[in-house]
Subunit: 351 residues, 2 copies
């Protein structure tokens, strides 16, 4: 069958959200690995560290003192990559030397007052508070900024330098590349096929079942057919929802629950606090709030760096950077690997 052929041999798969292809090799995991091995564990993380600028009651770099917060806490990034008042570098330049103004804000959002928890170890009510705060920030920043990127870098391997559970929210006066690309692909798909791309995709994956990691009444997490990172997942609502702000109370509860299950499964896979970068994509905001965005479906991408074990990552290097992304096992093989991994309780406990 076509599926067996795909499982056993190299082939290309199309990513309809990015209009690119990924090279899928089924058996490259077998090659011996004598390359770099990651440091597996940080030192024991205390629940409260008086020197950690993200903990309640502590003083940050700019002299501000954090409140004694009980659930989430949001503040401005002290070293922002985007600022509200950056000057205009001047338009209408040579086509090979074009620059544009970049304005925005960068916020940091703590998930919990304790440093020694992560989302999968938090209670459902506390995860719901995170989701509610995300939606609140989308309303606030999205009222003027066209794009508000919520993202979490988790783990030292993903450039995260603070173990305290947190994410970042960067709002910009421009649509970033990935947003522009995803917008174009979803728009064209609706035009050609008459249904929003990701709404149709979620339905088909729910029927086919072979790439589903976890699901509930309102949500579905799959290793997408076109996954590039070995354990990449795509988290999708079943209903047509354009933005985080449009989620009902029930959908927020369902989201908290599926996030906890997905992330518990990740932690249990290699029995570590699983590193990843994740982020939300939804219909653009600001001036786009007044436009038709029917082609958009809200979703979150999870991009974990690991390949074989807690210590061996997938290097997206030479061929991937210069030519095309390449993966060493099929998405269906990931599901097979993960089937025995529980999603209901944490085997791995964060220290």
């Amino acid at each position: 069958t076509g599926t067996d052929t795909e499982r056993e041999h190299q082939h290309l798969r199309y990513n309809p959200l990015r209009d690119t292809w990924v090279l899928v090799s089924a058996h490259r995991m077998k090659r011996p690995w004598s390359g770099q091995v990651e440091k597996e564990e940080e030192d024991q993380v205390p629940q409260h560290d008086p020197n950690n600028p993200l903990c309640p009651g502590n003083t940050r770099a700019n002299g501000e003192v954090n409140p004694d917060y009980n659930n989430t806490f949001v503040f401005e990034n002290d070293f922002p990559a985007l600022q509200p008042n950056a000057p205009d570098p001047g338009y209408n330049q040579h086509p090979l030397f074009q620059s544009k103004a970049a304005r925005g804000v960068c916020k940091v959002m703590c998930f919990h007052p304790w440093s020694d928890v992560t989302l999968p170890l938090m209670t459902l009510p506390d995860i719901i508070k995170v989701i509610d705060k995300w939606a609140e920030l989308m309303v606030d920043l999205g009222s003027t900024y066209p794009w508000v990127q919520i993202f979490e870098n988790k783990g030292a391997m993903m450039g995260c330098s603070n173990p305290h559970p947190h994410c970042q929210v960067w709002a910009s006066n421009f649509l970033p590349n990935e947003a522009t690309l995803s917008d174009r692909c979803q728009r064209e798909y609706l035009k050609t096929h008459g249904e929003p791309l990701l709404l149709q995709y979620a339905k088909m994956e729910a029927e086919r079942r072979e790439r589903v990691v976890v699901q509930n009444a309102d949500w579905l997490a799959v290793v997408p057919y076109w996954a590039t990172w070995p354990f990449q997942t795509l988290l999708l609502p079943r209903r047509h929802v354009q933005r985080l702000t449009n989620l009902t109370a029930q959908e927020r509860e369902g989201l908290a629950s599926i996030m906890k299950r997905l992330l518990t499964k990740y932690d249990n896979l290699f029995q570590i606090s699983f590193p990843y970068s994740m982020g939300w994509h939804g219909a653009p905001t600001g001036p786009y709030l007044k436009e038709d965005q029917f082609h958009w479906q809200l979703h979150a991408h999870y991009y974990p760096p690991l390949l074989r074990s807690a210590g061996v990552r997938k290097f997206m290097v030479g061929y991937e950077m210069l030519a095309q992304e390449q993966r060493d096992l099929t998405p269906e093989q990931v599901i097979h690997l993960g089937n025995s991994i529980t999603a209901t309780y944490a085997i791995y406990k964060h220290r």
Copy 2:
């Protein structure tokens, strides 16, 4: 002036080779770093290791014995991501589940019989032999395959698991994403502006001088205006040359010399054997050899992972993966930093 504004504040720059934008922040290098620090050095590398499958005279995983080679040596990758006879997964599938056949070959090319040298530590005649072998492989594999990707992953940080100086050559029956994108951008630029994009770009950078790292009569290496990696460079011929195979003997000599200077400068920057992934892009081959490829200009991209020091890399993570690539210093600041770094002799010697 516009340039000062750019140097001091966030702005976006356009990458005309990829039709994307990069977010440039001038002062993010200042933020304190308490995140992951890379292991700085591997163990001492012996000139000849009887267990290294890349050394002359040794036996590889498949039982083959390497010849007693004196300069370059090419063999088939024992764990290839591409194979010549992979079956067809079947076309005309659902638009959300599209796959295609991927066929090709993966070769490994050793640069030198010794494990304890790198390109910048090799003699010019030996580097010319590498260039000649690259051109030879382009002729052989390019006679049938539309794309032949020559790339080098250097250093453990770039997923390289063998210290012996080598690169890889992956030929495919398809144009990879990056090739397709670059082809489209160069084609459209020629159509709109009447001159090949990179030919015009090299001329303008040679005049402006503010982003030139090293140059000679036939070649120019710049930190491109749109660089995403902190120390990214673009190596360009001055003449209009579409493929490696079209380089004259003099241009090959000039290339050997400029590569040695560029890579010596890299090594001297942080006084380590500088890690990077690099690769060549030229006009497509195989069936494209018969078509007009005037829009193409041969070039090499160098993508080094480091940011602040030998131990601190740039993490292209959350915002970069989900939204847009972001850099923490301007390309002009890189030149400023690098001005005092010599390109003529190695301060850093590989152990």
